[in-house]
Amino acid sequence: MIRFEDVSVTYDGAPEPTVRDIELTVPEGELVLLVGPSGVGKSTLLGAVSGLVPHFTGGTLRGRVTVAGRDTRTHRPRELADVVGTVGQDPLSHFVTDTVEDELAYGMESLGLAPDVMRRRVEETLDLLGLADLRDRPISTLSGGQQQRVAIGSVLTPHPEVLVLDEPTSALDPAAAEEVLAVLQRLVHDLGTTVLMAEHRLERVVQYADRVALLTSPGAPLLLGTPAEVMAVSPVYPPVVALGRLDGWTPLPLTVRDARRRAGDLRNRLRALPYEGPGAPGPVPAPPVGATAPARRPRLFRRRPPGTPVTTAHPAVVTGLAVRRGRTEVLHDVTLSVAPGETVALMGRNGAGKSTLLSALVGLVPPSAGSVRVGGLQPHRTAPGDLIRHVGLVPQEPRDLLYADTVAGECAAADSDAGAGAGTCRALVSELLPGIADDTHPRDLSEGQRLTLALAVVLTARPPLILLDEPTRGLDYAAKSRLVTLLRALAAEGHAIVLATHDVELAAELSHRVVILADGEPVADGPTAEVVVASPSFAPQVTKILSPQKWLTVSQVREALNASGPAAGGARS
C-alpha cells in the first residue's frame, strides 16, 4: 500500500539528507509505528507519504514513494487526498471550517461525495469518536483532546486507505488516548485501513503495532521488525520494555498483561526488599530516589547551601478557589497547599481545569471565590515584576515565553526582567543546555531544548514555586529523563514544583503527591504511590505489572535490586 524505494530527502540549505536510503513497504491493513528520538526525520517520512514532502515543504526527494499505486512525484497532495488522510502534530492548524460537523464534512466535500453518503459518514464518525454531543460546537471552544479527535475524524470521513498520524495521542489524557487508539485499532481490523504513525509515548501505542520501524539517528538506515525485536535494540522504549530488559526477559513483553505473566519471579524477589517511596514531602525532602540524579550537583545548585529552604512558609496556598469563565465554573472549591521541596502532579482529563489552576497561581485568571496566596501575595493583584520572584510558569507552548531572536538576547532580557545580575540566565542555560551557541534562534531548538530554555528564563528570578504545564508533550525519552533529572535537582534545592500532566510515567517518576482534578474539583489528593495505585487509568505501567506492590518506576526497582545485591543490572540511563 505504501512503498518507499531508496528514498532520501534533502531540505534546501541542509548539508546532508534528513533521511537516507529508506526502504519500506507497508502492506494493506497494517499498523506500522515509526519510532526514534526527536529530530531523526520521522515527520519527514510521514510527510512524504501524503506528498507534502517535497511538494509543499520544498527540498529534494530522491527515490520513489508510491501510495496505493500512485507515485507522489506525479500526484500532488490534493490528488492523493482520497487515499491518504494526514493529521499533523498541531490539530489547530488543521482546521478549515469553524464547527465540528462542517469540519468532518470538509474533506468529503472536496472529493465530491454524494450528500447522502456524506451525511451518513458524518453521523458514523461522530459516534465512532464520541463527538456526537459536540457536533454544533465551534472548534475554537473545544479542549485539546476534543480537537485531536475532531482532527482524526475529519480525515476518517473520506475513508482513506492510508492514515498518516504524527503524534496522535501526545496531547491527550490517558483515557482519551485509549479511545483514539481503540478507534485506530477498529479501523485497521474492520476496514483494512493502513496506518503509519509516529509517537513518542510508546507505552500507549507499541502493543497496537503490527510492525515497528526504527530510525536511530538522522540519516541512519530504517530498522524494521516486529515490536518485540525492535524494542530489544531501540534507544527509545516504554517502561514495560525497560523492566523486561532490566530483568532479562525474552521475548520482551510489550503489554502489561504479558509482563505480569512473566513478573512472578521478580515480584517474589521484590517482596523481600524494603519499599522506598519517591521522597517524602517536606522542607528538606529526602534525596530523590533515582540514581539518575547527578552525583555531583551542578554549580548552579550549589550556590545556596543545600538544605536551606527557599522560604519557610508554604510557597502556594489555595483555599476554596473557584474560577468562572463566562457562565461555566472551571474550578470549584479547590484547596491545595504546596510545601517547599515538594513536587505535586496535577492530573485529570482534558479540560478538567489543570491549566486554569496553574493560571490562577500566576494571576492570569482572577478567582471568583476563595483565595490564592503565592508567597503570601495575591497573584492577580501583584505587579508582574514582583510576582516572578515568587512563582514562575512554563506554559504548554514554551515558545510563547520567548521573544528574542537569539538565545543570548533572550538571556539578557530575562536578566533585566528579573533584576538579576548580567549573565545569570546565560549561566543557567549553559548548565542546563550545554553546547548551545549564543546566536542560535530559539525557533531552531528542538522541543526539549526550547522547554529547557524557557525553564532557564523562568529560573532566572529564582522563584520558590515553579509551575509546568504539560512539560513532556513532544519530548522523547532521552529529553524526558533529562527533564526529570533537572526537576529533581530543583526540588532537592527546595523549590516547590507543580506539574500539570497527562504523562503518568512522568508523575510517577517525579512527584511526591498527585492531585486528580475532575470537572474543576479535586477528587483525589495524596502521596503518588497511593493515588496512582488506586486508579487504573493513572497507574504507571510498572505499578500495573508489579501490583499489589507499590513500585512506581523502573529506576526505583533497579535501585532496590542493586541495593539488595548484584541480582540484575540494567542499562537504562
Binding site: 487526498a81 471550517t97 469553524d98 468529503m108 472529493l111 451518513r120 453521523e123 465551534p138 500566576v362 510576582l387
Partner: protein, 433 residues
C-alpha cells in the same frame, strides 16, 4: 468513489443504531418546523400527534431546521431600508429595539454571534462622533436656541465656509442626533444579521465556481480571531516574564512573535488543506473551458456597457437589454465554470416556510415604510420630524405597527437550545486543554 459503497456498508454496521436514532430525532423536529424535507432526512411519516398550538411554537434550533442565512440578511436589510427612510427618533429606537429583541431571543452562543456587541459599540461610537462634529464644526441648520457658545477659531480667507467652534444650537444638535441615530440603526441591523447568520454558511450558498474562493474568504475571516487569541496569549505570557501585560508597549513587543506565529499557522493550514483535497478539479473539455472564459468575460463587458448605458442619458434604449444579456452571459459562465469543481455540499441550509417568514417580515417592514413615505406630505413629515422650529417627534401609528412586523422572527425562528443570557456578551476564552 468505488470504495464508498463497501466502506459505507461496513460502517453502517458499526454504528447503525445511534445513527438511525439521530436521524429519527431530526425528522421529528423537521416536521414540527414545517420545512420541506432536506436531502439528509428522507421524508418519514410524521409520527407525532401534537396539539396544534405546540406544533406552531418555534422548535429547538438544530442544524436541520436552521434558518437560511440569506433569510436573516434579507430581514436585516429590510429593517435597514426602513431605517434609511426615516429620521424619526422614536421609529429608529423602535427599529433598534426590534433588532435587539430578535437577536436576544434567537442568538446562539457561537463566536460569530458575539459580534453583535461590537456592532452596538460601533453604532454608539458613530453617534458620538456625529454629535461631536456638530458641536465642534457647527451645523448648517439655522437655529435660535443657543445652548453654549464655544470660542471660535479664526480661520484664513481660503478656509471660508469652514467654522471651528462658535455657537452650538439645540436645533443643530437635534438634527445631528437624528442623523447619527439613522446611521447607528443601520449598523445595528447589519450587526444583527452578523450575529444571527453564520457567515460561513452564507458562503456555502455561492455558486460552485466561486466556492473555492469562498473557502479562502472564510479562512481569511478566521485569521483575525486567531490573531487576537494569539495576542491575548502572548500578552499573558509577558506577565510570566515579569513585564506589564497591558499597555501599548506590550502590544507592540508581541507584534513580531504574533505575526511569525500567524505566518507559520497559515503555511501549516495551507498544507493541511492541500492534503485534504482543496483545489481538486475535474477534467473538462477544452471547448467548455474556452466557452466559460468567453461567456464570463463577454458577460462582464456587457454588464459594464449596460450599466453605462443606463446611467447616461443617450443610452436609454440599449442600456437595459445589454445589461440583461451581459448578466445572463456571466451567470451562464459561472454555471459552466461550476462543472470544473468537483465539490458537493454537506447539508446546505434549506429555504423553508420559516425562512420565508423571516425574510418576508423584513421585506414587509421595508415595503410598508417606503409605501407610507410616498403616500402624502403629512406622512413624509411624520417620518421626518422638523428641527426648525424644534418640535417633539410623535410616533406615527402605522409605521410603528409596520416595524413591529419585524419581530416575527423572534417567534417563528427555531430557538437556540439554552436561552442565551443578554449579559453574556463577554468573550470567553478557549477551554484549557
Amino acid at each position: 468513489m468505488t470504495t464508498s459503497e463497501t466502506n459505507g456498508a461496513i460502517n453502517c454496521e458499526i454504528s447503525g443504531e445511534t445513527n438511525s436514532k439521530t436521524n429519527g430525532e431530526n425528522t421529528g423536529q423537521e416536521h414540527r418546523a414545517g420545512t420541506p424535507g432536506t436531502p439528509g432526512t428522507p421524508g418519514a411519516p410524521a409520527m407525532r400527534t401534537a396539539l396544534p398550538w405546540s406544533r406552531l411554537r418555534a422548535p429547538r434550533a438544530t442544524r436541520t431546521n436552521a434558518i437560511h442565512p440569506g433569510a436573516w440578511w434579507i430581514w436585516a436589510l429590510g429593517l435597514g431600508t426602513a431605517a434609511s427612510r426615516t429620521t424619526n427618533p422614536l421609529l429608529l429606537a423602535l427599529l433598534v429595539g426590534v433588532a435587539g429583541y430578535v437577536v436576544a431571543a434567537r442568538r446562539t452562543e457561537a463566536p460569530w454571534a458575539r459580534s453583535y456587541g461590537a456592532f452596538v459599540k460601533l453604532a454608539l461610537a458613530v453617534l458620538g462622533i456625529r454629535l461631536a462634529f456638530a458641536v465642534l464644526l457647527g451645523s448648517p441648520i439655522p437655529g435660535t436656541h443657543t445652548l453654549v457658545t464655544l470660542p471660535e477659531l479664526p480661520l484664513p480667507d481660503w478656509a471660508q465656509g469652514i467654522r471651528v467652534g462658535g455657537r452650538v444650537t439645540a436645533e443643530g444638535l437635534v438634527f445631528a442626533l437624528y442623523d447619527g441615530l439613522k446611521l447607528a440603526t443601520l449598523l445595528i441591523c447589519v450587526g444583527a444579521a452578523n450575529a444571527l447568520a453564520n457567515p460561513a454558511r452564507l458562503l456555502k450558498s455561492l455558486p460552485g465556481a466561486l466556492y473555492e474562493a469562498g473557502v479562502a474568504v472564510v479562512v481569511a475571516l478566521t485569521f483575525a480571531p486567531n490573531l487576537i487569541a494569539d495576542v491575548q496569549r502572548l500578552r499573558a505570557a509577558r506577565r510570566l516574564r515579569g513585564r506589564p501585560d497591558h499597555g501599548l508597549r506590550g502590544l507592540l513587543q508581541v507584534g513580531l512573535p504574533v505575526l511569525e506565529g500567524a505566518l507559520e499557522r497559515s503555511v501549516a493550514l495551507a498544507a493541511a488543506m492541500d492534503a485534504r483535497g482543496y483545489g481538486r478539479s475535474a477534467e473538462v473539455p477544452a471547448g467548455v473551458r474556452r466557452t466559460t472564459a468567453a461567456l464570463t468575460l463577454g458577460g462582464l463587458v456587457g454588464v459594464c456597457a449596460g450599466t453605462y448605458g443606463l446611467l447616461t442619458a443617450e443610452g436609454g434604449t440599449y442600456g437595459l437589454p445589454v445589461l440583461l444579456t451581459g448578466l445572463a452571459a456571466s451567470l451562464g459562465g459561472l454555471w459552466l465554470g461550476g462543472r470544473r469543481s468537483l465539490r458537493t455540499r454537506y447539508r446546505p441550509d434549506s429555504w423553508g416556510v420559516r425562512a420565508w417568514l423571516v425574510a418576508g417580515s423584513g421585506a414587509a417592514v421595508a415595503a410598508l415604510i417606503v409605501l407610507y413615505a410616498s403616500t402624502d406630505a403629512y406622512a413624509y413629515a411624520a417620518l421626518h420630524p422638523g428641527v426648525v422650529p424644534l418640535i417633539a417627534p410623535t410616533l406615527p401609528l402605522w409605521p410603528a405597527a409596520a416595524i413591529l412586523l419585524g419581530l416575527l422572527p423572534a417567534f417563528v425562528a427555531p430557538a437556540p437550545a439554552p436561552a442565551p443570557a443578554l449579559s453574556d456578551i463577554r468573550t470567553t476564552v478557549k477551554e484549557p486543554s
